[in-house]
Amino acid sequence: MVKNYDAVVIGAGNGGLVASARLAKEGKKTLLIERHNLPGGFATSFVRGRFEFEASLHELCGIGSITGKSPLLKIFQEVGAADKMEWVALDEAYRLLTLDENEKCDYLMPLGKDAFINKLEEYDPGSATVVTKIFDLIESIEKTLDFVSNIEDFKPSMIKEIFSEHTDFLKVANYSVDEVLKSFGASQKTRDILNGYWCYLGQPTDELNAIHYFTMLHSYIIDGAVIPRGRSHQISTALLEAFTENGGEAWFNTSVKKINVENGVATGVVLDDGTQINAKVVICNASPYNAFTKLIDENSIPEKLKKEVNAKTLSAKGFAVFLGLNRSADELGLNNHTYFIYPTNDNRKCYELSKNLETNDVQATVCLNRAFDDCSPEGTSILYMTSIFAGDEWSKVSVKDYHKTKHAFAEKMIDNFEKATGVKIKDYIEEIEIATPMTYARYTDAPAGTIYGYEASKEDGIVKRIVFDLIDKGIPGLYFAGGYTTRHMGYSPSYTTGDMAAKKAILAMEKEVK
């Protein structure tokens, strides 16, 4: 069977959903293909007993509850999905705790620029002047990023504008977070607190690109963060609904076996049942890693792209423990929404320790009831803990040892949480589910259970990715969206790259018509 569409989208993850919704909104006849029976990829939820667990989202940025700067909300509105979503604004950024007895710390940081700076001044008197300057730089860089992200079709004249108007950005472009913060003379304590979010990107701050991290600080701390009431599954389903309302077709439980490339141009896909889908453009929300190794004939892949996919390093592998507790957050003393618990404030050391099951003690833990208490039945609460592994330690775990290994690591995370916070939770676990790198591999086919795409390393940070994406050309007709692309992994970045891919594809289709 042969079917014809304007666009075919591979994968209903965050990038694929937004790309599909945008294409349908613009009147393109679009087919969205998803292997699973659910939309969302990582952005989903699951029910155990009387609890509905969020599968991956901690806080969503891009829906600016404080400043109103909401690039993500704008996308959702434009594709007709925003009115199907319901947001709860957060007021807390994070509570930062360390396990190391010699450098024990406990910092509770609020969202909002002024509140954040004031609180930091409390913890580290005299820091306000320096931190204000850092935030000025963060805001200046944000202006440049807004300029760059609005480029839909790159013109050489834009380079001139960047050199005249965006000098801060250019100066910082190739420095690490540590290099820039140190240049301001920020104290160790101030840097420890500012670096709290590092685990969300999975890269230590001595290597992590400053602009990458600053844009994250801007979107969380300055603009504000939210949680969707119906879990991330609500966002995923709302996008799917908007897509189908605008005439899009979504096929679930359906796999793409091949992306057709003819004379160097992507022309469609072949499905698991042999159905041939011809399309003017192919949007791929499967990772370039999987697309190049599984979906595209090797002879059709330019040498440069092979080198590129080979040069990059797979990022953190995920581990999560989902707990339905039979006491309320108040009863237990779960007073905070986001807990970052690290073995030490030295995040390079944390990263190195996270390569090993025995030594990894990194966790980011969320008590959803602190976003909205009715997320679970009265007298109960939901806590979920996430850890990241650098390296591929889990590949050494055999089938036979799998259950024991995952339980042992989950127990260690629970013990660490109790030790760091003093809150006892172990006796109140009514429901538990544990996700390992194997779980992420199962549901997303991510190599080694990677959850953050490619490492945001010095050579492959987002600034380099964005700049070279504007210069390099891949396979014409094929557009990648999602966490392995220019904006690195994360909800907001994946939605954004989905939108960018769709806009590029639409532009290309229009050029073709002319």
Binding site: R48, G230, A238, V397, V399, A448
Partner: protein, 389 residues
């Protein structure tokens, strides 16, 4: 930002550093070999994931054991490895019976270790109106190939959640998940104690008695008590498994209650268990195909099924679940648990009205918001349009 000059290491050094970025990137890409990296399937993590959760398993019946004329045990082997599991999980089988394509779940009776040695065992009991169980009992023969999905299910012993002492209440063929657990304890793969209260009508209906007796005898972590509802025999408890019998045999320490059996037993326990004043977290029911809806004069409706853009219209009765109507019409749906729990059959109710029995609605919040249903526990109350894929 003000026009005051900002720099990290001085404007000159910053500019050099930024320009370096172009060469660094070029070198980074150019120095990599122009070969493709390892496919995801070849990572240890992905191999284990696939081994634990194969898309489907082709099983060959290697042996059939008759339990009087009330039940049969089926033993399976495979050319490929069998998916490992936790004691208490079930296998869902896909069968083509006449024009129907159906799925049914059976708890695995064998131990997890036996799966690693290449064998599964399930036990099928003959029940009244058992469309699929009758078919299996009358048609499955040694050498036949059958299709099963990966093991699923949450009634497994989890030391982080459950008490270390399990009081298991089994009714009829509901013994199988606990036989698996007892075997796993005996083989050292689970670290809990098991007090098994096994309810049957008469002693003739007790399945696996000699094995259970010997497990109980040789392993101090396992204790088996038979409870007969319809006959008074020496050496057996009389009546139904309720609060008194549980109290009599449960350990002094804190314990979890696991239940697997027919609907009538669940109804009885719903009034009995509260008498024990056990916290909810220590009580877990394995739900199998729930009670049927019985309309004296069932209505007949049309269901328009949308699958990959194609529409088919099928007939459905108000007395049967939407999934049942799909199955009868030979429409393949990725269903597993048949109790609303697993969510595999999740579909979009484009239009129409369905009835969901109380307690069976285990959907996500957003699925309720956008009218997605689990067809396995929905009964049609009007003509429907359902998008399955």
């Amino acid at each position: 930002m003000s026009k005051k000059k900002f720099s990290v290491n001085g404007t000159f050094k910053d500019s050099v550093n930024t320009i370096k970025f172009l060469t660094e990137r070029k070198q980074f890409i150019d120095s990599a070999p122009a070969v493709l990296p390892t496919r995801s399937d070849d990572f240890g993590v992905n191999k284990v994931a696939k081994s634990l959760h194969p898309k489907e398993q082709k099983l060959v019946i290697s042996r059939i054991e008759e339990h009087g004329n009330i039940a049969k045990s089926y033993y399976f082997k495979s050319d490929t490895e069998l998916a490992y599991f936790k004691a208490g999980q079930y296998l869902t089988f896909k069968l083509e019976i006449g024009n129907s394509v159906v799925t049914r779940s059976y708890s695995i009776a064998s131990s997890p270790a036996s799966a690693l040695n290449g064998e599964y065992q399930i036990t099928v009991k003959r029940i009244a109106d058992g469309f699929v169980s009758d078919y299996i009992l009358d048609n499955w023969n040694v050498g036949d190939e059958v299709i099963a999905y990966a093991p699923e299910g949450n009634m497994t012993y989890c030391p982080l959640r459950d008490a270390q002492n399990i009081v298991a209440i089994a009714g009829g063929s509901g013994i199988t998940p606990f036989l698996s657990l007892a075997r796993a304890i005996d083989q050292g793969d689970e670290d809990c104690t098991l007090t098994l209260l096994y309810g049957c009508r008469t002693s003739d209906e007790i399945l696996f008695k000699s094995e259970l007796d010997s497990l109980s005898e040789r392993n101090e972590k396992i204790n088996v008590v038979y409870v007969l509802s319809h006959s008074d025999e020496d050496g057996y408890e009389k009546g139904f498994v309720g609060a008194d019998i549980i109290k009599k045999y449960a350990p002094d320490e804190i314990y979890s209650v696991f239940v697997c059996g027919p609907g009538g037993m669940y109804k009885f326990l719903e009034t009995e268990l509260p008498k024990l004043q056990i916290e909810r977290k220590y009580i877990r029911f394995e739900v199998f195909s729930s009670g049927k809806k019985v309309d004296e004069e069932p209505n007949e409706y049309n269901i328009t099924v949308i699958n990959r853009g194609n529409e088919t219209v099928i007939k459905a009765s108000s007395n049967e679940t939407v999934l049942c109507a799909f199955e009868r019409a030979g429409i393949e749906v990725p269903a597993r648990c048949h109790t609303g729990e697993c969510g595999f059959c999740r579909s979009k109710l484009v239009s129409g009205k369905v009835y969901i029995p109380e307690g069976e609605d285990k959907r996500r919040i957003a699925d309720m918001q956008f009218n997605f249903i689990h067809p396995c526990c929905c009964y049609p109350e009007s003509d429907l349009v359902v998008r399955i894929n």
